[in-house]
């Protein structure tokens, strides 16, 4: 479980998140939603200890995040970032293998290799696992990055817009994997743009607007016409199709 208490985060001196207090429960899939620039990615980056908060604290299982030693934290929390550009020329398997670094420190054992292969299979990457990343399409690279995060096998998984560049089938595959991970007792937090996807897969939604929490709760509490219209400052229609909420904006 991750909690934030009165969390404020600044980016290059400008406040981006103000006084955010949240609880992201274990065993649930939480979706962060909201308009562009609301601070979703910044919140996720702060939860992933990649930016230090200006004030407030982040607690991982009731322990302040910044007191947990880096090597230990990497065994408990992993994060998929949006800019996934990597420097060296790596194959898909090389990249996914780096996900095992917190466990193996670079010496891959039998379990590490098995986990790498499992992550590659789960993201449907087996056919080009020996290809170099720079020869792949955007969606394939994105899946390789997600596989690397999965291979890290942490209790908390933070995914920043994992569906970027993914086609329909692979977007569904990734959301199903996120659900499986949550059902296995992990804390999964996903930044999503597609509210229909968020309503269909998430247990818990947090809506951010201008750096503050605008709404949070179950999908049926957040994915409603008044809440979303207010959140995005535009008319939103919520329809029910086959028992699921579908968000229409046109």
């Amino acid at each position: 479980m991750i909690e934030t208490r009165a969390l404020s985060v600044h980016l290059t001196g400008k406040p981006v998140l103000h006084d955010v207090s949240l609880s992201l429960p274990r065993g649930k899939l939480t979706a962060l939603v909201g308009p562009n620039g609301a601070g979703k990615s910044t919140l996720l980056t702060a939860l992933g200890r990649l930016i230090a908060p200006a004030s407030g604290e982040i607690l991982l299982d009731c322990v302040p995040l910044n007191t947990i030693p880096a090597p230990e934290l990497a065994l408990r929390l992993s994060i998929l970032r949006q800019e996934g550009a990597v420097g060296p020329r790596l194959t898909v398997r090389d990249l996914v293998s780096f996900g095992r670094y917190p466990h193996s420190h670079g010496r891959l054992g039998v379990t590490d290799r098995a986990e790498v292969e499992r992550a590659i299979d789960r993201l449907d990457l087996a056919a080009f696992s020996d290809r170099y990343l720079d020869t792949l399409s955007g969606g394939q690279k994105q899946r390789a990055q997600i596989a690397m995060v999965l291979a890290q096998q942490t209790d908390v998984i933070l995914l920043d817009e994992p569906l970027n560049n993914l086609d329909l089938a692979h977007a569904r595959r990734v959301m199903r994997i996120a659900r499986q991970e949550a059902e296995a007792g992990r804390t999964v937090v996903v930044v999503l743009h597609d509210l229909t996807v968020a309503a269909a897969y998430a247990d818990h939604l947090v809506a951010l607007k201008a750096g503050r929490v605008a709404a949070s709760g179950r999908p049926d509490q957040v994915v409603t016409e008044p809440v979303l219209s207010d959140l995005f400052d535009t008319e939103v229609t919520v329809a029910e199709v086959g028992g699921r909420r579908v968000v229409l904006t046109l």
């Binding site: 880096a70 090597p71 230990e72 990597v86 780096f98 670079g106």
Partner: protein, 314 residues
């Protein structure tokens, strides 16, 4: 395995170059020849390894293959420290200083200044053009400050610094060689032992942090190691700007790998082979005493231009 055979081949080439360096054109007492040339050989190998490893590690930290410590003005910084010491302590003071103490002082100044200036730069600016520009500006700044100091000090004191400000492989201070060699071995061993961590750091700051590397602390330690190695090579032979770039380009061309376990040792072997072989060729075969530095710099400069132009095309 490809990596192991590459290392073996490079080691063999280095061995041949060393044998040629020690034996070609030797006349008279072998004991004296071997001792005299042996010390110089140790100095050349020390300088080459220091340049190679500092360049490879710096390029990993800076996340690109065009920047080198020399291009970013590291050795200009070392020379500035040297002139600064003469300015403060006066030429007589520096000339009378124990050479080890002098080297220690210069290295200390270099460490502090390099960490202060380049530590912040590495953390913030990842844009390559900004880094190159900053490096060039730093280099010009350090060189101009050095010149200013050199004009302010007395001509006799100037002669103390002057000899140190040009690259030369023929007159290497023998007393420093063994200290420098020892230091280089230690620092290199430490860096090579960090090869797995360097692999992760090459992924970038945030990726390395998510994988549990204390990036900022590690990067500072490695930058300190780079500064030490640059101090060693600059103190022994003076500033060599493009040699590191030449070595790193060659190494990446040969290795085609991201593993520092291969890259670091291979780069050291390649650098030593190039330096010892060209020194042998110029000194023993062509009998040209001073042109090695010029030729190596020329070749390295061409590689630099080629890399920049190729990057612009792609």
């Amino acid at each position: 395995m490809r990596g192991a055979s590459l290392i073996l081949l490079a080691a063999l080439a280095l061995l041949l170059a060393c044998l040629a360096f020690l034996s070609l054109g030797a006349r008279g007492d072998w004991g004296f020849v071997l001792m005299f040339r042996g010390t110089r050989l140790v100095a050349l190998i020390t300088v080459a390894s220091a340049v190679a490893l500092s360049t490879m590690v710096f390029q990993t930290l800076a996340a690109n293959r065009i920047l080198t410590p020399a291009i970013m003005g590291f050795d200009a910084l070392f020379l500035l420290g040297q002139s600064g010491l003469v300015f403060i302590l006066s030429g007589v003071g520096v000339a009378m200083l124990n050479p080890y103490l002098k080297f220690g002082l210069e290295t200390g100044v270099m460490l502090v200044a390099a960490l202060a200036l380049f530590g912040a730069l590495l953390r913030r600016g990842r844009g390559i053009s900004r880094m190159i520009l900053t490096g060039i500006v730093f280099g010009i700044l350090f060189r101009s400050l050095t010149q200013l100091l050199n004009r302010l000090i007395a001509p006799s004191e100037f002669s103390v610094v002057q000899s140190a400000s040009f690259a030369q492989f023929t007159a290497i201070p023998a007393n420093l060689t063994w200290v420098a060699a020892g230091g280089t071995v230690l620092v290199s061993a430490w860096l090579i032992a960090q090869h797995r961590r360097l692999d992760v750091m090459a992924l970038g700051r945030e990726a390395a942090m998510s994988l549990g590397v204390r990036y900022d602390r590690q990067a500072r330690q490695m930058l300190a190691a780079v500064a030490l190695l640059v101090s060693v090579s600059t103190a022994l032979v003076g500033p060599i700007v493009f040699f590191g770039l030449l070595v790193s380009a060659l190494t990446h061309h040969l290795a085609r790998s991201w593993r520092h376990a291969l890259l670091l040792p291979l780069s050291a072997l390649v650098a030593c082979t190039v330096l010892v072989a060209s020194q042998t060729l110029f000194e023993r075969v062509l009998h040209l005493q001073t042109s090695v530095a010029v030729v190596i710099e020329g070749l390295g400069g061409l590689v630099f231009l080629a890399m920049i132009l190729r990057r612009r095309k792609s």
